[in-house]
């Protein structure tokens, strides 16, 4: 039979204030649990051993999708299934609906939340199996060595750690210029998506700016890109459940004469943070949306990549996904 998770105290607060108090009380010994679909795996593997688990699923204020004058507000605890099926999201930000629908499996999307998905911890099977690597507070990296099994790891931004973001929705948030509303007992702050995610050079043990006392409340999506031309594609070893090997999210505005007016294009699973492809954006802006532009753009998609021993394949994969995004969206 399967064994149990190690012991922890479970708290199920019904409001934000209680949750914030608990987080302040337990500090780094507390674990914020959203849908719990990844959390419980960490506990079962003994890779994370919190004293207290704060289950946020009973806090109604963190749930729901609301239209505002500025765009859309999505509560951090809104499930991925709800986002994928929401008519407003589908109509205005089809990119997000598609990405949310590509996460894991139906059972996981039913419970898994947008806040949990964007804040998901790194993909590195050494780290996830509980080894004492840099990210876990130790003093070595197992994946970045000549013998390391690093097929899933990064092409960019390695800094002692070579793990990648596994999120399917995080690149979408950067593409759509989303804002993240964070609360702690000290107050509220709002950060743009590209400041929310942080790489190992900034903090090797964190994927996001969230500190122990912080709760991600809401994700705001401005109406700027509503109804734009979108492209999302995820490539994974298994077509269901699996993390992406590479994913791409793009939002593009094309004029009536077929010229690309504006674009944001972001790749996931190639760096610890969603990677915005500025070079690609600069190349295609002002050019017609066609095969030639897409080919040219693709050739610069992976510029500067520093592949590890077993992940060279990610370079052509990334280039081809970018090519499709420009040509087919």
């Amino acid at each position: 039979m399967k064994d149990m998770m190690p012991k922890f105290d479970l708290f199920q607060p019904a409001d934000i204030e209680t949750a914030l108090k608990l987080l302040d009380k337990y500090g780094a010994k507390a674990w914020k649990m959203a849908g719990g679909q990844d959390s419980l795996d960490w506990f079962k593997d003994r890779a994370k051993r919190p004293d207290a688990v704060i289950d946020l699923s009973g806090i109604e204020a963190l749930k729901g999708i609301r239209e505002t004058a500025a765009g859309l507000e999505i509560g951090a605890m809104t499930t991925l299934a709800e986002i994928a099926a929401n008519p407003i999201v589908k109509e205005k930000f089809g990119l997000l609906a598609t990405a949310a629908g590509r996460v894991a499996s139906p059972q996981i999307r039913t419970v898994g939340t947008i806040g949990g998905n964007v804040s998901q911890d790194a993909r590195c099977w050494y780290y996830r199996s509980g080894l004492d690597c840099y990210r876990a507070g130790g003093n070595t990296c197992y994946a970045g060595t000549p013998q390391g099994m690093n097929r899933e790891h990064c092409l960019f931004g390695a800094s002692r750690c070579v793990a990648v973001t596994p999120s399917d929705t995080a690149p979408v948030m950067v593409a759509l210029e989303a804002e993240f509303v964070i609360r702690s007992s000290k107050g509220e702050r709002v950060l743009p998506a590209d400041k929310y995610f942080i790489g190992p050079a900034v903090n090797i043990t964190h994927m996001t700016v969230l500190e122990p006392g912080d709760i991600l409340m809401t994700i705001r999506i401005p109406s700027k890109w509503a109804g734009a031309k979108f492209y999302y594609e995820k490539v994974a070893d298994r077509n269901t459940w699996d993390f992406p090997l590479v994913n791409v999210a793009s939002a593009m505005k094309v004029k009536a004469d077929g010229v690309i007016e504006d674009i944001r294009i972001v790749c996931g699973a190639v760096e610890c943070v969603p990677r915005r492809l500025n070079a690609v954006e600069d190349i295609v802006k002002g050019s017609p949306q066609n095969e030639d532009t897409a080919t040219l753009a693709a050739s610069s998609a992976a510029r500067g990549a520093a592949p590890l021993n077993f992940n060279h394949f990610k370079i052509p994969l990334m280039e081809n996904l970018v090519k499709r995004a420009i040509r087919d969206s």
């Binding site: 399967k2 149990m4 998770m5 105290d9 059972q107």
Partner: protein, 205 residues
């Protein structure tokens, strides 16, 4: 602790299979409980404000009082405390879907659900699909007719995912059904048979 409701109701003469099942269930429950307590509770009192241990669960239409640890998953509770071993534990990591049960009629991985989070919600396991006279559910019959199960380990999960789909969408297209069943791994590779069964069940319901 464990249940022998099936025998207590006494609606059928006790079959050999049923008898053996109940003996296994009670044995597993006893040894599992000892195992939990040895490995996962140091006997210290829970912190104030933490969840209660004795809770009522709504399983297959019955209210069941159970002693639940904070770190206990629904799959553990169902299998080792309520004796509902129809729910299988495959990977215990939300990867395979063998432990799928319905919570308020929607499929969930019971291995990735804390039992404390289902208080007040209706849990349906594969045992709960049984008709009043022991008949198979239309989905189960369709899976037999379409030769769905080979080794059968993933079957309860496949059944529950299919039942959940048909409750939400009684007439799915084949593509919709394929997506809805995507969270259930079948290592025998009988996916098309299961899919045929879902479509057959949708037609006959």
């Amino acid at each position: 602790m464990t249940t022998t409701d099936d025998m207590a109701i006494g609606r059928d003469p006790v079959t050999r299979r049923r008898f053996i099942k109940s003996v296994i269930a009670s044995g597993a429950a006893t040894s599992a409980a000892a195992y939990y307590l040895a490995g996962c509770s140091d006997g210290s009192a829970p912190a104030s404000g933490s969840v209660e241990r004795l809770i009522t669960l709504k399983v297959n239409g019955q209210d069941r009082r159970v002693d639940i640890l904070p770190n206990e998953t629904l799959a553990m509770t169902l299998r080792y405390k309520l004796g509902l071993t129809g729910t299988k534990l495959g990977c215990d990591r939300g990867e395979c879907g063998a432990c799928t049960v319905l919570i308020n009629d929607v499929g969930h991985n019971s291995c990735s659900t804390l039992t404390h989070s289902v208080r007040g919600r209706a849990v349906t396991t594969v045992e709960g699909l049984e008709g009043p006279n022991g008949e198979l559910h239309v989905v189960q019959q369709a899976m037999i007719d379409e030769l769905g199960p080979q080794c059968g380990f993933c079957t309860p999960g496949q059944v529950m995912s299919a039942v959940g789909l048909l409750k939400a969408n009684p007439k799915p297209t084949r593509e919709e059904a394929r997506h809805a069943m995507a969270g259930n791994l079948c290592r025998c590779g009988a996916y098309d048979h299961y899919l045929n069964a879902v479509m057959r069940a949708a037609k006959s319901a």
